[in-house]
Each structure stands twice: as C-alpha cells, then as structure tokens.
C-alpha cells in the first residue's frame, strides 16, 4: 500500500500484533479466581511510572475516581494518559504532576463548565506535553484495532486536517477504491481503569448505561482495574449473561467502591457534584490551590469513604441521587465563579 502521508504524532501504546498476542497468551489468566483487592493494592500492583494509562467512561461520567486519587496518593510519575474525552480525571492527574504526556482527543476542558485551569497551565508552561492529537472516533478505533489484535483500522476521519497531521495515523491509497484512506494505529494501554455498576469477584461486569468506549478499552488494555459500585454473586452474572459487558478474563483487579465515581456522575445512580467540581475549578486556578485541594481531598484521607465524608457524606450523596432523577433543580455554581 502506498503511504501518502504520515502523522508526526508520537505513536503511543502500539505493539506488533504478534508481540501483542503473545503478551496476552502469556500474561492474561483464564482462571476464575477472586480478584478483589483495595484501591491501594490495585494501584501498587498494576500502575507503574511511565505507564500509558486510560480511564473508562466519558468526561465526568462513570470514572474510577478512587483509582485516580490513589495514583496521586502513591505519587506515580511520568505517566502518559489517553485524552479520550478525559476531563476531571486527566485535569487532576496532570495538575498533580503524575501525568506529563497526553495524546489528546478532548482534554484540558470541563465541557460546559469551561476550560481546565490546572492542566492548561501545565501544557502552556511546557510541564505537560501533548505528544499527539486525534479525535474521539480516532481514539475509539485505536482501542478497536487493539481489541481485534490488528495493527490498524481504516477510517474516513482525520483526513486533510492538522488533527490528522499531528496524529500517529498514516494516510494510504485504499487498494479497493483507489481513494485516500486514514489508518488508525492500534493501541493497548499498559493499564486501564473502568467504573461499573456491578461486578462479581472474578471481574464479570455489568454496566447499566451507554458503554462509550469501554467494550473496546476493556479488551485492548494489558492490565484492567475494575472499580464497582457493588460486588454481586456469580450466579447473578450467570442468570443474565447478556448483561455482561466485560468478561472476567480481561480483568486483573476488582475494587468495590460505592459512589466511586464521585464527583463525577454514575448514570442511573447519582449526578455530578457540581459544588465539588466548582471548588476544584476555583482552587486549581493557582498551583497553591491545586496543592490545597490535593492536601484536603487526597493526602489527608487514606480511603474513599473518608473522602466521601469530607465531601458532605450521606446527606450530599442523597442529594446527588435525587439530582440524577431530576428531583432537584440544576445548579451551576462554576458559572458564578466566572
């Protein structure tokens, strides 16, 4: 195939398909075994400095916040993060100095709430590097190729643009149509973390919402940490196998964390904690404010339950539940913040 153009972005997380397959054969156990552990143990076992990491869900939705805070608490360094519409998780990981390279589809913003002061400051001052650009579908299909054990997936986006020029894609002449077509390279993150509604002790997980990229991400990641609102019996999984969105053999750790997406949304359970997000957006305007936030919510507590207490405990969580079901009015405290 004739290569017409090569993106100049750094190729992150790509492996030769034979090497990728051999890694899976050697390292991913098919044994149905208990994988439950604490967030502390999961991070200490599976997240290493310089890893390429990816977070499931989307933006502020269904995010493994317990793992994000634990990575900061354990002071991992030089991580590369998939900016696949990564918002609060990425902002706080870049702001805390754990992540210093990002491949960006959507990053450094909080959607309607505005831009992210902390991670933008790190990028604009050169402390965090954008190593490649892509789009959401571009990232999505990097996972898809990884999941399929293929070196790339052809696509008809990113063509003709700087997003494509700064990506790690290549444009070739399609041997069938004779037209230019984009090739999205496969990606296998070293470790991914995905928050789910329920899961058994082996890692068989159910998700009661849109799946975003998690089918593909869960299967292409080399190591996968599942955090779950609750642990359920294996018989429940077997009673409705069509509900299994992630099977146990791709999972390395299962961490039970009720309300584990806070301050992000857990669809059908609790809404975003806008007050908390506004506090982060306000504090993160300065490096000192970032330190203050981390000291208060990450370093002064050693587990997620204590963190939830700091955030207002059961009273706050009950409010967020009512908010999810439209029984409380919308608030936008970050709007007043300017």
């Amino acid at each position: 195939m004739e290569v017409l153009q090569e993106g100049k972005g750094e190729l992150i997380g790509w492996h030769d398909p034979d090497e990728a397959r051999e890694w899976v054969l050697k390292n991913k156990s098919r044994e149905l075994k208990d994988k439950t552990m604490s967030a502390r143990e999961a991070v200490s076992r599976f997240v290493r400095d310089r890893d390429f990491i990816a977070s499931g869900g989307f933006g502020h939705i269904r995010v493994s916040m317990a793992i994000i805070y634990e990575i900061i608490r354990q002071k991992r360094q030089n991580l590369i993060m998939a900016g696949k519409t990564a918002v609060h998780d990425l902002d706080i990981l870049v702001g805390s100095g754990c992540v210093n390279k990002v491949e960006v589809a959507y990053s450094f913003g909080h959607e309607l709430r505005g831009l992210s002061p902390a991670s933008r400051r790190m990028v604009e001052s050169g402390q965090c590097k954008v190593v490649a650009e892509t789009s959401n579908a571009g990232y999505q299909w990097r996972w898809l190729a990884g999941m399929m054990g293929l070196p790339f997936i052809p696509s008809r986006n990113l063509l003709g643009t700087d997003t494509g020029n700064f990506s790690s894609c290549k444009v070739v002449k399609d041997p069938f149509s004779g037209k230019s077509i984009n090739l999205v390279p496969a990606a296998c993150p070293d470790v991914a973390f995905i928050h789910v509604h329920r899961c058994d002790i082996y890692g068989n997980a159910q998700i009661d919402s849109i799946l975003v990229e998690d089918i593909e991400l869960s299967r292409c990641a080399r190591r996968l940490i599942i955090t779950t609102e609750e642990i359920v019996g294996n018989e429940l999984i077997r009673r409705e196998p069509w509900e299994t969105k992630i099977p146990f053999f791709v999972v390395d750790a299962v961490v039970e964390v009720p309300y584990g997406s806070h301050p992000c949304e857990m669809p059908g359970m609790y809404y975003y904690d806008e007050e908390h997000i506004a506090e982060w957006l306000r504090l993160s305007r300065t490096p000192e404010g970032v330190d203050e936030y981390l000291q208060k919510y990450v370093f002064s507590v050693d587990n997620f339950e204590d963190y939830l207490e700091l955030c207002g405990g059961i009273k706050r969580l009950n409010y967020l539940k009512r908010r999810e079901f439209l029984r409380e009015p919308m608030t936008a405290p970050w709007r007043k913040e300017g």
Binding site: Y106, S135, G138, N157, I210
Partner: protein, 263 residues
C-alpha cells in the same frame, strides 16, 4: 448595532443564537450534536417545529427526549427516554456510513472554507492558549452530510484567513478538497451562524456566502468583522425572530439554571 430584539431587551444573544440554530434544523432528520449551544438548539427544535428530530450524541446516546440541558455529551440525560443507549463505536460507525444528516458544532476560529479550529491559539507545540482539541468535532465534520457551525463572536480574530490549527475539516482548500483528501463525497459545511447573520457556502467556490442578516444588522458590520472576504449575494434575507413561546421553552424548560443562556 445590536439585534433589534436584544436592544429592546426581549432576549439575549445566546437565546437568539439558540433559536436561529433550531430554525436551521428540519424535522425527521438526524443531528449529531456538540456541547453547549448546539444541544440547546436541537432541544428547542425538538420541542417546537421538529418533534421527530433524531438527536445523536457521540458517547452513545441515540434519540433521547431531552429533559434538561446536559452538561456533558455523555451523561444520562443524553439517553433519557431514548431509542438506544449505545456506544461510541456504534454511533461513529453509523455516522461514517451515512446516517447523520446534520452535524452541529461550536468553534473558536473559522476560515472562508468552513475549516475550524478548537485545538490551540498560537503554535501547537508552545501554545498561547491550549483549547480542548477535536473531541468528536473532526469526526462530526468528516462524517455528517451537512455541517452547521455556531460562532457567537464573529470578528477579525474568529473569521480568519488561516486557522491556527485545522482541527475539523470544512472544504479544506476549496472545491474538490474534501474528495481529494478522501472525505465523503458531497459532504461538508452547510450553515454558519454568528451574532450577525446566517451564512451558507457558494456552490462553485465553496467560500462563505451571506444568506441572511439578523434584524438591524448591516452588511458593513459583516465586512468589518471578518479577515476574509465574504460573498454577498444580491438578495439578502432577514433572519427570523423568536416568539414568546420559543423564549419560554428556552428559559423554563431547557436551561432554567442559565448555564449557557445566562440569566
């Protein structure tokens, strides 16, 4: 000059732009929406003249009946009473295959061919301002049949000769540009909405062309607020104005907290 209704205090600019955005959308079509005003415009269309508008969100929400303004294009509101709660692979694939009539995006900068930038202001590797990047925008601009762009602050700095970074494809370098790059034949930018007017694209040159001016806005203002030359046809329409009902739906049903529309 301000738009007449704004000068009279009947509505604000964001409300007006949401109304104009809605007016461009047709019933029984599909629209792939980005964050903010595009969602509001689609909700308003759905609650007024286009009840069967099929709204699609990039993270997997398909055909919701939106109860209130979602803050994110991936939250549970985006599949409230929906046809399907699906996945990004599903909706992006469907879009690539031709199921999306309208794409609807906001932008920081645009050139005369409708190429848009949402990635950086300044140089990519040492940016003056780092913006969020493509997100789903490059996909929406590549896959939708007709792309609608909202830029609330048309000026020489937003209507530029060359975008600092070409995030999302318009007509690229002009006629045939998209096809040469390998993008879907016949697809491309369709309407651009700003605080001054509604624009389309000249069929032959693929350059931005004025369609209508908002009430009380002059052509001189259009010229004064663009770095590139805009094609001005002989016949220019006046953009429509929202009714009380439109404003009531916007204020009471869609964005009562004033997140996007303001208070």
């Amino acid at each position: 000059m301000a738009i007449k209704g704004i000068a009279k205090g009947k509505y604000n600019l964001r409300e007006y732009l949401a109304f104009i955005g809605a007016s461009v959308l047709e019933d029984k079509k599909s629209v792939f929406v980005g964050t903010g005003l595009p969602i509001i415009a689609s909700m308003l269309a759905q609650k007024t003249h286009a009840p069967n508008l099929l709204v699609i969100f990039e993270a997997g929400g398909v055909g919701p009946l939106l109860p209130e303004l979602p803050i994110s294009v991936g939250e549970s509101r985006t599949y409230h009473k929906a046809i399907a709660a699906s996945s990004m692979h599903d909706v992006m694939s469907l879009s690539q295959a031709g199921y999306v009539d309208y794409g609807f995006l906001g932008a920081a900068q645009m050139d005369m061919y409708g190429n848009i930038n949402t990635t950086v202001i300044g140089n990519h590797d040492s940016p003056k301002v780092r913006l969020p990047g493509s997100g789903g925008a490059n996909d929406v601009g590549s896959f939708s049949d007709k792309l609608i762009i909202i830029i609330a602050n048309q000026s020489k700095r937003t209507f530029v000769n060359k975008v600092d970074f070409l995030t999302t494809p318009g007509y690229l370098d002009g006629p045939g540009g998209r096809e040469r790059a390998g993008l879907a034949r016949g697809s491309g930018p369709y309407r651009v909405i700003t605080q001054l007017g509604i624009y389309g694209f000249d069929e032959e040159t693929k350059r931005l062309k004025l369609i209508s001016l908002h009430p009380s806005i002059s052509i001189a203002e259009v010229w004064a607020n663009s770095s590139f030359e805009i094609i001005i046809p002989d016949e220019i329409e006046t953009s429509p104005e929202p009714t009380e009902q439109h404003l009531k739906v916007l204020r009471e049903e869609i964005d009562p907290a004033g997140m996007v529309l303001g208070k």
